[in-house]
Symmetry: C2
Subunit: 250 residues, 2 copies
Amino acid sequence: MNTAIKDAAFNPRDCGSCPIRHRAVCSRCEPDELDRLDAIKYYRSYEAGQPVIWAGDHMEFVASVVSGIATLSQTMEDGRTQMVGLLLPSDFIGRPGRDLAPFDVVAVSDLTVCCFRKKPFEELMASTPSIGTRLLQMTLDELDSAREWMLVLGRKTAREKIASLLAILARRDVVLGKTPPTSGMSLDLPLTREAMADYLGLTLETVSRQISALKKAGVIILEGKRHVIIPDIEVLLAETGDDVDGGPLT
Amino acid sequence: MNTAIKDAAFNPRDCGSCPIRHRAVCSRCEPDELDRLDAIKYYRSYEAGQPVIWAGDHMEFVASVVSGIATLSQTMEDGRTQMVGLLLPSDFIGRPGRDLAPFDVVAVSDLTVCCFRKKPFEELMASTPSIGTRLLQMTLDELDSAREWMLVLGRKTAREKIASLLAILARRDVVLGKTPPTSGMSLDLPLTREAMADYLGLTLETVSRQISALKKAGVIILEGKRHVIIPDIEVLLAETGDDVDGGPLT
DNA sequence: CGTTGTCTTGAAAGTTGTCAATACTTGTGG
DNA sequence: CCACAAGTATTGACAACTTTCAAGACAACG
């Protein structure tokens, strides 16, 4: 709750100071296009744990994640759930041209999103190629990572799954400049054991056991439950089962 | 091989008679736009089993599947492979704006594709909104189905996976008008047991056993190895583990 | 008619899930 | 300030499911 207020510290009316200005769906817009987007945008915040959208809901808006983390997931009748996406700042929520949400979206941390009413956004997109082009690029990237995740879900062992998740989180922190890709780097887990299990297609007990196993093997060091130190990044990458040619974390 | 020749029976220079004209990436093009696409297109055929692209290759073209079936898949160093897409007529291969292929593409039946050299296609896309718009729509659809498949891979049992695959194939035949969605409908499996296993994240032995189990339970009837009769479609859908509200095969 | 690729089935082993008990952390209220 | 409750995480024992290894059936093809 405090976080949400703090995160809204930039001027919510000024796209120029927006922290996701250069990566979100609007990143290719010219100043005049940005003005038109500005006219239909509004911010919305959710507390950690709150639902943003339920599968089957009518979507009245599309949105960009400004700060915080949300998950995209699917739940079966008997309660089994599978996460199908992790939404980080600059990621896009919703789909122009469809009005029923196919998946649940839940805030896992305090979350602020920049919403656009769907109808005006669709009209704007039709007249503004730079939005559609950027959205296509983002969607193709997401499709590639969904397909990479299918390999993890379908073919990797529990231990490889955990190592893969840690490697992904490490790579993301490096890309965002949070830490250099050195040995000895550390990272915070943004997810509970249960959320990790939902991401990886495992039970939370198996997640816990495999994290303990990686700790016992010296691949990672735990500080508390959520902070991980990686003594040797290459050792971690070797545990993912992936090809490691072409250098680490590229 | 005969198939490839037969499939090329329509005039390959006339987009008007193209069997995927109304569903492929070009489906929204006006006649003049089609002429420009026409100028950079060429057909290419592959025999069943042949590779179309290897992961890591430079992509010199993008393409639409005209006839036949191809798979998109990923292989680990030790040989474990996961299929991440099934490419059917009208599906798009390749990605504007990237020149290394992220996945292997293999023809599983005789295959004919309509290729566009990548550079000219990208230029044309920049000046022809109807292509980009259609490609965005197709990519969003593929992303949704990739995410649905993540639930299958991560959370379903072997039996549910087989039932889900059969349900998908049945739904596709209904949508294409090959058969009405009646009880007693039948379908041909376009994949070997091994390819099904790669799609479902199973071994081919488990695929075989679960097909036998569904047969023994009366959910399906086998005629030969590749032809399936579905006595009661709702019984099959119940085996998928999915919610079946809202009518079958919708 | 043998070869090859595909498919089925069995038995044993291994991995992961299930059920259960316990510990740790945090926040609330007495 | 302490006690308690709730949420989160760890660990053990056992069960269940899927894989692995192996043998053999079946069909297509030269």
